[in-house]
């Protein structure tokens, strides 16, 4: 097992190198200039722009810049933001808690909805409950988060005036009020992301359950006289969850992607909104670092999925 994990980690190195090279060259070829905002300002002469470009090494050839970046990265230096003039890792670390809080809560919400609903729907396929759940699931994953987000704002903030739609990191309260405020402001973004996730997950749980529920050993279990609850939870779900767990793990990077849009709408200071603002201001080092973090997440969650597989199903041996 540990040997397997080690080997997989070693394989991850060349793929991450490849990913970083592609990202770097694509970003370098992309048009734009971090100092473009200075260009229309008559107060700033062109020489200043040129000096800034030279200072940040923007005039070096691409491969040199890549090697510099790689070398710095290996030394733990994530680069330096052109726009904020601070280290990229501090910038990302500052933003990470908000993203983890929102994405984590959304994922938990999605699981809390998807598993019971999917399981129950599978036990009574084509019943009224199943039909309604299916319809809602289809609606849920057809509506993009930027649409539901704005819809929620219009309903809950503007018409009903129940919830704030601007997320604040520093709530001026302590103790229980702080917790309540944190929850109140996270309701909308978490609901938007969570419901979107829950929709597709429900479908998955349902079909995975249906696959297993018809197998002979389930009939055997029932024939032994075990109750419905025991059969479903102990016998069916355990096996049905194997593909679901993989799916959830593999979907994690996509959740981060979905969070980018949601973060922008609700002004959540997470790494997603950092990515957008850096793209808009052509802050290449930050864009590079954030996308690279996403790439690492993909590789990491793939690995986690594989390891979880072996743990859930001892028949699969990892060598």
């Amino acid at each position: 097992m540990s040997q397997y994990v080690l080997r997989r980690l070693l394989i991850a190195i060349p793929s991450l190198l490849g990913i970083s090279a592609v990202l770097f060259f694509v970003l370098a070829l992309a048009p734009g200039d971090p100092f473009s905002e200075l260009a229309t300002n008559p107060n700033v002469p062109p020489e200043v722009q040129a000096a800034l470009r030279a200072k940040f090494g923007l005039d070096d050839p691409i491969y040199l810049r890549y090697l510099h970046w790689l070398n710095a990265m290996l030394h733990g230096d994530w680069g330096f933001s052109f726009v904020s003039r601070m280290n990229v890792d501090t910038l990302i670390l500052q933003r990470l808690p908000a993203t983890l809080y929102v994405i984590g809560s959304a994922q938990i919400l999605a699981l809390l909805i998807a598993i019971p609903v999917g399981v129950y729907a599978a036990t009574k396929p084509y019943s009224l409950f199943d039909q309604v759940a299916n319809t809602l699931a289809f609606v849920g994953f057809s509506l993009p988060t930027f649409f539901t987000g704005i819809l929620f704002i219009l309903i809950f903030s503007i018409t009903l005036d129940w919830l704030p739609f601007v997320y604040t990191t520093d709530i001026k309260a302590t103790g229980i009020r702080w917790v309540l405020e944190m929850i109140r402001q996270a309701i909308m973004p978490v609901a938007v992301l969570g419901l979107f996730q829950a929709a597709s997950m429900t479908r998955f749980v349902r079909s995975a359950m249906l696959d297993v529920i018809r197998l002979d050993y389930v009939t055997t279990a029932r024939a032994k006289g075990l109750g419905q609850a025991t059969v479903i939870i102990k016998h069916v779900m355990r096996n049905a969850m194997i593909p679901v767990v993989t799916l959830i793990a593999l979907q994690m990077p996509a959740v981060f992607g979905g969070a980018i849009v949601t973060e922008q709408i609700f002004r959540i200071p997470g790494i997603g909104s950092l990515l957008i603002s850096s793209i808009l201001s052509n802050d290449t080092p930050v864009v590079m670092a954030v996308t690279f973090v996403f790439a690492c997440l993909v590789v990491l969650f793939n690995l986690i999925a594989d390891v979880l597989y072996g743990w859930l199903d001892p028949r699969i041996s990892l060598r």
């Binding site: 601070m86 739609f165 808009l280």
Partner: protein, 596 residues
């Protein structure tokens, strides 16, 4: 015109026979009003009016929190590294200049004890030096006193190319010396009629020498205080998360009485303009939002029964269509739009004039800008003293058609004009942006009626405004026949704004297209007028020279001004922000208060 009359009026103001307001009114009548009319008085020996800012609170603090929403949040807090106004706005909560511009374009003293004038000995008669007196007793947030050394240091810091500040052009050409602990002298190389540039406004913020002395030059980016400002401002720094939030708290030792009004201040960043407008006007979650680039229709709808309203500030920002004087389709030595070529269609002045007749500014205002724009014939729209009254504009398709007929461009079989077998086709480019693309559509429609085939093109703003030498779609390269965008006017003086278009500034391959004269306009008369204006110390003659430059641009149709744009802000109904079209939103933050 009124050289003599003006002088006698200045005399009257000086010995009190005429009051200042009457003087400004008299000047208004002849087209020379407000903002720098006051600089006329200053140079004429009368002290500049100190802003009559109405400030009601009678004690410091007690205003609760002030919540600002900037839909692009500040990303750094050193005013000399600010890449955009968002950074300047964030820095300005903590740092202060000697003076800032108020709504009328007057200087409002902040760290200065008084505004320099000839009368108080601050201005030299030859316009080659200025002495500023610093307000005594001002303390940095860490308790150290503010002295002339801080100003001298700020000049050294900002003018050092290795520091790579964005304010280097403000400080590079001057010398600052200490007169005594509480006054400095700024020396100019040549007579400089517009002396209120260094240490004034956004780039004028002074840095504490004791915290930045070690970080001058190439070590500048390591300074810990780049992200944790220690200034003299009304609010003390509490917290900063780049792009997300800046927070401050009341400075109990602030140097102005009864200020600031608010106990805490928060500037939240991120999101988009429309939802920012909602958060202020509809839900009242925030008190103030900046730069409402939102269609007027939407704003009007939000304002109905809302908790806030929009506010407008008039400056000199101009949205225009620029005309290419060179040929974008012929390549010479690897350079299109080369100075060795002439535009095959647009080099004829009558054709350019006809084109100007086809821009329906009223419709553009009605359909797009609404309350946020004014129609104009001028490139230079402020301060009023510099605004030409000699120009006019009209929208007239028949007249344009006739002019084109007379110029030899006849309507062909396909409805498109042609001359010597050449079709009248234009490529019209702009940056990707709703209002600009709508303007393109309005202009294209009128052109079609006049038999001109217009191809529209929009380029992503990050490319269009970049200085990327390798990209053909940037505005300075101008590989199109006409192009539209906006140039902001960052101070109430036309010197920098008008200087762009002298022939020495033409954008070419040789200067990597960094020359600011992108229409590639060459006119000896214009060059001479700018050169004369830059050393003219008589404010009336100087204003006349800039008006002449504007009129030359109009006569030669270098630009077709589309809209004089106003700054649009959103504020809670009971908030009284001190705004100015000549300054950034937070430049007079100490004067903001909330009506009880």
């Amino acid at each position: 015109m009124l050289d003599k009359e003006l002088r006698s009026m200045i005399g009257q103001v000086k010995d009190g026979r005429m009051d200042r307001r009457a003087f400004v009114k008299r000047l208004a009548a002849v087209g020379l009003t407000a903002p720098l009319a006051n600089q006329i008085l200053a140079l004429g020996g009368v002290a500049m009016a100190q802003s009559p800012a109405v400030y009601k609170p009678t004690k410091r603090g007690g205003g609760g929190p002030l919540k600002l929403l900037w839909w692009q949040g500040p990303t750094l807090l050193n005013p000399h590294f600010a890449t955009g106004t968002k950074d300047q706005d964030g820095s300005r909560l903590f740092y202060e200049p000697l003076a800032s511009w108020d709504a009328d374009g007057n200087l409002n003293p902040i760290l200065a004890a008084e505004i320099p004038s000839l009368a108080n000995g601050g201005l030299a008669a030859d316009a080659k030096s200025v002495v500023w007196k610093i307000k005594p007793g001002v303390k940095w947030h860490d308790g150290k006193p503010l002295t002339a050394d801080d100003f001298v240091f700020t000049w050294q810091y900002a003018s050092d190319p290795a520091t790579a500040t964005v304010s280097i052009s403000t400080y590079g050409e001057i010398t600052v010396e200490k007169v005594n602990d509480l006054s400095i002298r700024i020396l100019f190389k040549t007579p400089t009629p517009f002396w209120a540039n260094a240490f004034v406004g956004a780039y004028g913020c002074v840095l504490p020498k004791h915290l930045f002395a070690e970080y001058k030059g190439s070590k500048s980016r390591e300074a810990p205080n780049n992200l944790a400002p220690v200034g003299t401002g009304p609010y003390k720094f509490v917290e900063f998360k780049p792009g997300d939030v800046v927070r401050g708290e009341l400075n109990p030792d602030y140097h102005m009485p009864n200020r600031p009004h608010f106990d805490t201040i928060e500037m939240k960043g991120g999101g988009d303009a429309v939802s920012a407008a909602r958060a202020v006007i509809q839900t009242g979650e925030f008190d103030f939002a900046w730069n409402m680039q939102v269609e007027d229709d939407v704003l009007l709808r939000l304002e109905k029964g809302g908790k806030g309203k929009t506010l407008y500030a008039t400056g000199g920002d101009i949205e225009f269509i620029a005309i290419n004087f060179t040929d974008p389709n012929t390549e010479i030595d690897g350079e299109r739009s080369s100075m060795k070529t002439k535009h095959p269609i647009l080099s004829d002045p009558n054709v350019r004039k006809a084109l100007a007749l086809l821009v329906d500014r009223d419709s553009v205002k009605k359909a797009i800008y609404g309350r946020a724009g004014r129609t104009t014939a001028n490139y230079l729209n402020g301060p009023e003293k510099f605004v030409s009254k000699n120009t006019s504009w009209e929208f007239n398709i028949e007249k344009a058609s006739k002019m084109l007929d007379d110029a030899g461009w006849r309507v062909g079989a396909d409805g498109i004009r042609e001359k010597d077998g050449k079709k009248f086709k234009l490529l019209y480019q702009t940056s990707t942006n709703g209002p600009r693309q709508k303007t393109q559509a309005i202009v294209k429609q009128a052109c079609q009626k006049a038999g001109i085939d217009v191809e529209l093109k929009s380029v992503v703003a990050s490319v269009f405004f970049s200085s990327d030498v390798a990209n053909p779609d940037t505005y300075p390269k101008f590989y199109a026949d006409i192009e539209e965008f906006q140039i902001p006017m960052t101070q109430p003086d036309p010197a920098l704004h008008m200087r762009r278009y002298i022939s020495a500034n033409v954008a070419t391959k040789e200067n990597k297209w960094q020359g600011q004269n992108f229409p590639r306009y060459v006119n000896k008369e214009y060059d001479a007028a700018i050169a004369a204006a830059e050393t003219e110390t008589d404010p009336v003659k100087r204003a006349a020279l800039y008006i002449k430059c504007n009129d030359l641009l109009w006569q030669d149709t270098v630009f077709i001004p589309v809209m004089h744009r106003l700054k649009v802000e959103a504020a809670a109904n009971n908030l009284r922000p001190a705004l100015s079209g000549w300054a950034n939103e937070t430049d007079n933050i100490q004067d903001w208060y909330r009506e009880a």
